[in-house]
């Protein structure tokens, strides 16, 4: 029998051990930076969510659930009773709905685009992909401002509508929920297109011609064949739009006009205006929880996909 069959195991010699040691040392700076720069801070956020707010910001080291309670209940100052309040829940709900709406909107626009690009000849295809990605490289702030610039009352869009005679006075588009949704789609649309494009591109379109002999209708083919095929891309793209939209700050801040708060604004407010750090931390923790759930769904879907293809 061979030496391995006789039980001999691989041995890592001195040269390789030295190399492994060097590599571990090289890895240290990055891990330390991110460990101390992100993981530890997030831990601090979680801890702070269980403390009491200080008078001028900061925290008092006194463990309590009050931040989380404050999320759902309002404490009457006089008789110390708790009444259920929905203000914050509404914000979370609005954020959730906005993120869902943005995801659906991005899908309605992005899926046809992804399909179209995937069916272009190879030379133009790379150009299209490039064109779709370029806007994402631009600063998010600039992109959000430019959207505001266009849709505000004194902006070019209203000017165009008035000039064309469609309306007589400016249409209030900016500072509405609709504007926020629009800005979210604008920000993250490329992220919906690219994964779907990647999934559809792999499709052998000759199968489609074969399917035509069985199914008469191109819409049936879309529903029965193409959509299921693109599903992993659709799920990936949806997550890539949903998660950033949920925690978005700039879109609701600049286009929401301060009245249509989303989670991002609410959290920011606790650290700037209201100075209730534990409450802000709690809100952040809850947001993290939602994101984690969304990610776990994604990972489970990926694993199921991998099992299916094996």
């Amino acid at each position: 029998m061979t030496r391995a069959e006789a039980g001999l195991k691989e041995v890592i010699g001195p040269q390789e051990r030295r190399e492994l040691r060097i590599r571990r040392i090289l890895l240290l700076p990055s891990l330390l930076v991110i460990g101390f720069g992100l993981v530890l801070p997030i831990g601090i956020v979680v801890v702070y969510s269980f403390l009491r707010p200080g008078t001028y910001g900061g925290v008092i080291w006194d463990f309590t659930f009050s931040a989380y309670i404050q999320f759902l209940f309002e404490r009457d100052l006089f008789d110390n009773t708790l009444t259920f309040q929905t203000a914050y829940l509404e914000i979370y709900l609005r954020s959730f709905l906005q993120a869902v709406a943005a995801t659906i909107g991005a899908f309605m626009l992005g899926f046809p685009a992804a399909y179209f690009i995937a069916t272009r000849p190879l030379a133009t295809r790379t150009m299209w992909v490039f064109l779709i990605t370029v806007p994402y490289w631009v600063n998010l702030l600039i992109r959000t401002i430019s959207m505001l610039f266009i849709i505000r009352d004194e902006g070019p869009l209203n000017y165009l509508l008035i000039w064309l005679g469609i309306v007589e006075t400016p249409v209030r588009i900016a500072y509405t929920d609709f504007a926020v949704g629009l800005a979210l789609i604008y920000s993250y649309l490329p992220f919906m297109v690219l994964p779907i494009y990647a999934a559809i591109e792999r499709f052998d379109f000759r199968l489609m011609e074969a399917a035509y002999d069985l199914y008469a209708n191109r819409w049936t083919i879309l529903r029965e064949i193409i959509l299921p095929l693109a599903k992993p891309g659709i799920i990936a793209g949806s997550l890539l739009v949903f998660i950033p939209s949920l925690g978005s700050f700039l879109a609701p801040d600049i286009l929401g006009g301060g009245k249509n708060l989303m989670i991002g604004n609410m959290i920011a407010l606790q650290f700037q205006g209201s100075r209730n750090w534990p409450f802000g931390s709690a809100a952040a923790v809850i947001l993290m929880g939602v994101v984690l759930i969304a990610l776990m769904i994604f990972v489970r879907q990926q694993l199921r996909q991998r099992v299916r293809t094996n």
């Binding site: 492994l20 590599r23 571990r24 090289l26 890895l27 700076p29 990055s30 891990l31 930076v33 991110i34 460990g35 720069g37 992100l38 801070p41 997030i42 601090i44 956020v45 702070y48 626009l109 046809p112 685009a113 399909y115 179209f116 779709i132 370029v134 806007p135 490289w137 631009v138 600063n139 998010l140 702030l141 600039i142 992109r143 401002i145 430019s146 505001l148 610039f149 266009i150 004194e154 070019p156 000017y159 649309l189 297109v193 379109f205 011609e209 035509y212 191109r218 879309l222 998660i243 949920l246 700050f249 700039l250 991002g264 959290i267 920011a268 650290f271 952040a284 947001l287 993290m288 990610l295």
Partner: protein
């Protein structure tokens, strides 16, 4: 229009082409519009007063803008440099050779900043600085930027590194070079396009950042995005258009540069 083949005909869906163009229009129009208006000599939406760069000049003679731009450059160059060095070390550790114990966890950690929503990173960084006692100012911005610049620098570097075969270093060591000399004379020159590409990407990401910067900036430490944000709050001016257009062009050209340099063939 040329006649479509049967294959092309079957793959067509009515309206998809139109929607794609609508997509493109939607994505590009706002930025193009801002760019166009930034060159309008007259401060008006409705009237075109002729081509002029006066708003650009006006914006950059503004001392507040100048200071913000300088701060942005200082922060971006420092953060990108440090992040690139750390990311290069990290890539050298992870992207070659026998997998280390905990390899995937390390890789996940390096990419963690990309996964966490920015608002959470922003809050976390702020609380960290306060808890540890680091004063908020340009320095705190730099520290926070280094954290999220590392994964951005890491990507092109590790991509490049994975494309460099092991036999180059082996040949160098075979020819009496110790590990350091093999790295310095053979691996590093071959890796350089990836490192530069990573640096440029990290630089632009730092330059463009708003949310995290907003949270950890101290009084007086303004960066360009922060300045723009402050200006927009008080209403649109053509100077805002000018600066926005400029940042827009810088972003696009830098990212393209990063991509092109990273793709250079080994042949040099």
């Amino acid at each position: 229009m040329a006649r479509r083949t049967r294959g092309e005909e079957l793959r067509r869906y009515p309206g998809f082409r139109a929607l794609t163009f609508a997509c493109m229009f939607f994505l590009y129009a706002p930025m193009v519009v801002i760019a166009v208006y930034s060159f309008n000599a007259i401060r008006s939406i409705t009237v075109w007063g002729g081509f002029s760069v006066s708003w650009y000049l006006k914006a950059f003679s503004n001392p507040a803008i100048q200071k913000a731009a300088m701060n942005s450059l200082i922060v971006a160059s420092t953060a990108a440099t440090v992040a690139t060095v750390f990311a290069t070390c990290g890539a050298l550790a992870l992207a070659r050779g026998r997998p280390l114990r905990g390899q995937e966890a390390a890789f996940g950690l390096i990419n963690l900043p990309l996964m966490v929503p920015e608002i959470i990173s922003a809050v976390a960084s702020l609380l960290f600085f306060v808890a540890v006692g680091i004063p908020l100012g340009l320095g705190s911005i730099m520290l926070a930027h280094i954290v999220f610049c590392i994964p951005f620098a890491y990507l092109p570097i590790s991509a490049r590194l994975e494309g460099i075969e092991a036999y180059y270093e082996e040949a160098a060591r075979d020819l009496y070079a110790d590990r350091w000399k093999a790295f310095r004379y053979v691996l590093m020159p071959l890796l350089m396009p990836g490192v530069i590409s990573g640096f440029i990407l990290a630089f632009i990401i730092s330059l463009d950042d708003f949310i995290i910067t907003n949270f950890v900036a101290g009084p007086g430490a303004t960066t360009l995005p922060l300045a723009i944000y402050g200006m927009v709050r008080t209403g649109f001016t053509p100077e805002i258009n000018a600066i926005s257009t400029l940042m827009l062009l810088i972003s696009v050209s830098f990212v393209s540069l990063s991509y092109l340099i990273g793709r250079r063939q080994k042949g040099f």
